[in-house]
């Protein structure tokens, strides 16, 4: 079928991703689909208690189960037995202390999944229970147990403060002040492919096929944790069945490695159940935010105070970096000359807080954008006008102190939104509310920085090969977890080389074949690798045309142009097949490699080296403005989002369809965050342990979405693009919050998500729902 192969890739066009063909046929092999011959199953006994000192693990009974091959505990780990992206504070198998219910105590390898389950249930352990910490406030109470007794910050993983202008003092010069406190829940990624993989250890070499966002970092981390040299460890990352940040860090890798090394020469498979994924995987951080925003009478923002507490769970994971990004983005895309922004990421015995699409920004945007609406109301300005009045442009500083040095399109987004029918016709639509229904319209904005920030080099290495058959192979090391970066690389290379899809091939991330490219995260996949790839393509083009000129004994390389499968010599019209040219070149000559390192900011916005190390400040930002229309059923408290629109500045679109996909998916996740997804725990134990109690949006819950882009050129981006993978989710919750407040006379909820029950409460106690007494105007 020629749905794709004969078309020519072109940047800027909506083109289907070639992997979709295999995916619709059920042929694409995800990590979950690897079943090696005579494979064994590996699984983990988890603690089920939130905090305790481990005394011993008893595996005798489990060993007697027929079909059980091996049972490992921490005593069998030869490496550091510690993993973690920034701080290595998480044990692979617990050796001293249990810090949350999902901690792994023992690893069982068995012939069948049934034998595995039976054995896991028979493992018991002795422990001394320790009091647990389940809120950030408890972590600082006098006499609170220390979750990591050697951590210099006590129960505080990281705290930091960004002060600009006169800081808090500036509130004295404000004509109007509003204040808001909200508590946000954890959010579960709920990717459809749970954490899984297959490993085999043969002749001293370990190879792991895994559902991951970070194959190269996995290699280093796993090698150290389990005691194998990195050269002996190969990580293979097929198309990933959803990641969203939850696979940005080790999940099954070290466990699988240990299992494989204990049972060499056979493939070992591990697949977390949905419950295990909920229990052991990271979550979006639960957060408490306190905001105070001050403005002049004319609506110009003057001062901002932010206090943000993030519950980071028992391990660092990426909690410090999440806090850093949250602080940098706390003031949104606005000019506010004076700000005091402080925050903490706090250790608790809850589930692990980690990376999740948005990376701290959805939390701060939730509070900031509601504060903006409160201020608009107080000063009788429209929500759009007050945003436009304060929106940043290039050269401005955002409240954290970061100077915006690259394309800055929030004003364009707002202007476009203002012209949108959903905005212009909002009042008419609201007036037509049926009986018992309230209607409201609300907006919210966000900005989102791309990449790792100034400290960790943000690099990708592209490799391009002209095969002997005259086709081009793109070796990319940055995982495609569904965002579609793979097809954008084909579009870029195909466009520059003027080749059809049938002449192009992708080699998926594999530490044995591709080169380090960093993680598929931080809205950087397409940007960073794309820049590296363009360079590799240009080098290839020059080399091939020059070699063609040499072998045809004609003038120079620039007399040639690429056509599908061939080079054409322009002066004579002669065609030179790429396969023929490839035959003239040695294997090294047929390969080009190029490394790109993203621009790092040279600006210092804080003297706090810990914050700098955690990624502040960024240089390239995307921007977005969202608008939601909601309808509230006053009898049931049910909220329906009827329409949704968003305008985004993410540079030039490489593939408009993919832009739509990212936006739609991000908005859907954001609506889940706002309305349904309540990850409830009780003393560290999950009360919403699976998809029947933790409700993610289904097809009936998502409104039609109208999305557009302002299509500004970002000069540092490949073909002018910027990342869109995260900004799509950042302002969804506050857009809903503002729409709900608009519908019901200013009622706002403190504890999110805004379930029907909470909505009913707001409706019965208008304007001042329980706990919302802080959400008010002060002057």
């Amino acid at each position: 079928m020629n749905l794709i192969s004969k078309t020519s890739p072109s940047v800027g066009a909506s083109q289907a991703r070639p992997d979709a063909l295999n995916k619709v046929m059920g042929h694409e092999k995800f990590a979950a689909d690897y079943y090696g011959p005579r494979h064994l199953w590996a699984g983990v006994r988890r603690a089920g208690i939130p905090h305790g000192r481990l005394i011993s693990v008893s595996t005798e009974a489990a060993k007697q189960v027929p079909g059980v091959k091996k049972i490992l505990t921490h005593k069998d780990v030869n490496g550091s037995n510690r993993q973690g992206v920034i701080q290595k504070d998480q044990p692979v198998l617990v050796d001293d202390r249990i810090r949350h219910c999902g901690d792994a105590l023992a690893l069982v390898i068995a012939e069948t999944s049934q034998a595995l389950e039976t054995a896991l249930a028979l493992i018991s352990f002795e422990y001394e229970a320790l009091p647990g910490i389940f809120t950030t406030a408890e972590a600082f109470q006098y006499g609170a147990p220390l979750i990591h007794p050697t951590h210099p910050g006590g129960n505080c993983l990281l705290s930091g403060q960004l002060v600009s202008g006169k800081g808090l003092e500036a509130f004295e010069a404000c004509d109007a002040i509003v204040e808001l406190t909200i508590d946000l829940p954890r959010q579960e990624h709920a990717y459809l492919e749970t954490e899984c993989g297959e490993a085999v250890y043969e002749k001293g070499e370990l190879s792991i096929v895994v559902s991951t966002q970070t194959p190269f970092r996995d290699r280093a981390e796993t090698a150290q944790a389990i005691g194998i040299s990195p050269e002996k460890l190969r990580i293979i990352a097929p198309y990933c069945g959803g990641g969203f940040g939850g696979k940005d860090g080790i999940t099954v890798q070290s466990l699988l490695g240990l299992a494989a090394m204990a049972c060499p020469d056979v493939p070992i498979k591990m697949m977390w159940s949905r419950e295990e994924s909920f229990l052991a995987g990271p979550k979006r951080h639960a957060a408490s935010l306190h905001y105070r925003l001050g403005a002049k009478q004319n609506g110009v923002f003057h001062a901002l105070e932010v206090r943000a507490d993030f519950d980071t769970g028992p391990y660092d994971h990426l909690g410090g970096a999440v806090l850093g990004l949250a602080l940098e983005h706390a003031g949104g895309p606005y000019r506010i000359p004076h700000a005091a922004i402080q925050g903490k990421a706090v250790y608790t015995n809850n589930t692990i807080g980690g990376a999740f699409r948005g990376f701290g920004v959805p939390q701060v945007a939730a509070a900031m954008e509601q504060a903006v609406d409160l201020m608009a109301e107080k000063l009788s300005l429209s929500p759009l006008d007050i945003r436009m009045k304060n929106a940043v442009q290039k050269g401005d500083k955002i409240p954290s102190g970061t100077t915006l040095k690259t394309s800055t399109g929030i004003r364009e987004c707002l202007a476009r939104l203002k012209a949108h029918p959903l905005y212009r016709e909002a009042d008419a639509w609201k007036k037509k509310a049926p009986a018992h229904m309230l209607r409201g319209s609300g907006m919210a904005c966000a900005l989102h920085g791309m990449g790792y920030g100034p400290f960790v080099p943000d690099t990708a290495i592209a490799k391009l090969e002209l095969t002997k058959q005259g086709r081009f192979k793109i070796y990319f090391g940055v995982v495609d977890m569904g965002q579609g970066n793979g097809v954008t690389f084909l579009q870029m290379a195909g466009d520059l080389l003027n080749q059809n899809y049938e002449n192009l091939e992708l080699v998926l991330p594999d530490t044995g074949l591709t080169l380090p490219c960093g993680s598929a995260s931080a809205s950087r996949s397409t940007y960073t690798f794309g820049n590296a790839l363009i360079q590799a393509v240009e080098t290839m083009k020059t080399r091939l045309t020059q070699r063609a000129a040499d072998s045809l004994m004609v003038g120079d390389g620039d007399e040639f142009c690429f056509i599908p499968g061939h080079l054409r010599h322009l002066p004579t019209g002669r065609e030179f097949p790429l396969a023929q040219l490839a035959a003239l070149l040695g294997p090294e000559e047929r390969i080009t490699i190029s490394r790109y390192r993203a621009l790092a900011s040279k600006e210092t916005v804080t003297q706090d080296t810990a914050l700098q190390m955690h990624g502040i400040p960024h240089t390239v930002f995307s921007y977005t403005a969202h608008l939601a229309h909601v309808e509230i059923d006053t009898l049931t408290g049910g909220i329906t989002v009827c329409n949704y629109t968003a305008v985004t500045d993410c540079g030039r679109l490489i593939n408009p369809d993919l832009y739509q996909q990212q936006m739609q998916g991000g908005i859907a996740q954001g609506l889940g965050y706002a309305l349904y997804e309540d990850f409830i725990t009780d003393k560290g134990r999950l009360l919403t342990a699976n998809l029947s109690t933790y409700i993610i949006p289904g097809a009936l819950d998502i409104p039609p979405m109208a999305l557009s882009s302002v299509d500004l050129q970002e000069n540092t981006g490949p073909f002018g693009m910027k990342g869109v993978g995260e900004i799509c989710i950042d302002p969804v919750l506050p857009a809903v919050a503002n729409a709900v407040a608009d519908a019901c006379g200013g009622g706002r909820c403190r504890q999110w998500p805004l379930t029907c029950e909470r909505m009913l409460e707001i409706l019965t106690i208008p304007v001042c729902p329980p706990g919302a007494d802080m959400n008010r105007s002060l002057i």
Partner: protein, 158 residues
């Protein structure tokens, strides 16, 4: 037990435990990994197959239940020369596939819908998809794909 059934139009007899989950039978024993498991308890629809032309969840069925039945999985949907089924084609063209892990189940659900209602409206499509979770797409392009597939099947489109 000895189990006989038809799998994607081919008759098959094999030896298995009567309580083997159909999803394990398909994926692990028969190598048909197109049918996905994402919850194992009937919540997500990733394991959707058809049994005697009716949608079923392979994670909730055991081998003994499919004795003598006709089973269709995602792998059986394309034509003999791997020509895509119109629904599959529509998913590719409409951009309804992101990570692709929900896709086989979604394609099965839409195929089944269009056989029952050749020209469904938006609500009918949303309802038909309500048993299938997707965490990537926000469902809009899956809706588009269903509508496009309906047009293709009704020959309104080439």
């Amino acid at each position: 037990m000895k189990l006989s059934f038809t799998l994607n139009h081919n008759a098959l007899t094999l030896e298995t435990e009567p309580d083997r989950r159909v999803i394990d039978l398909l994926r692990e024993d028969l190598g048909l990994t197109g049918t996905k498991e994402a919850c194992g308890e009937g919540e997500c629809g990733a394991c959707t197959i058809r049994v005697n032309k009716e949608l079923r969840l392979a994670c909730l069925m055991i081998a003994a239940q499919i004795e003598g039945c006709s089973i269709e999985t995602i792998e059986g949907l394309a034509g003999p020369d791997q020509a895509l089924h119109p629904v599959q084609e529509a998913f590719v063209q409409a951009g309804a596939v992101q990570c692709g892990f929900c896709t086989p189940g979604m394609v099965m659900a839409v195929t089944d819908l269009l056989e029952a209602i050749p020209d469904p409206d938006e609500t009918q499509i949303r309802k038909a998809l309500s048993g299938n979770l997707c965490r990537c797409t926000g469902y809009q392009k899956i809706m588009d794909a269903a509508q496009l597939a309906a047009k293709k099947e009704n020959k309104c489109l080439p």
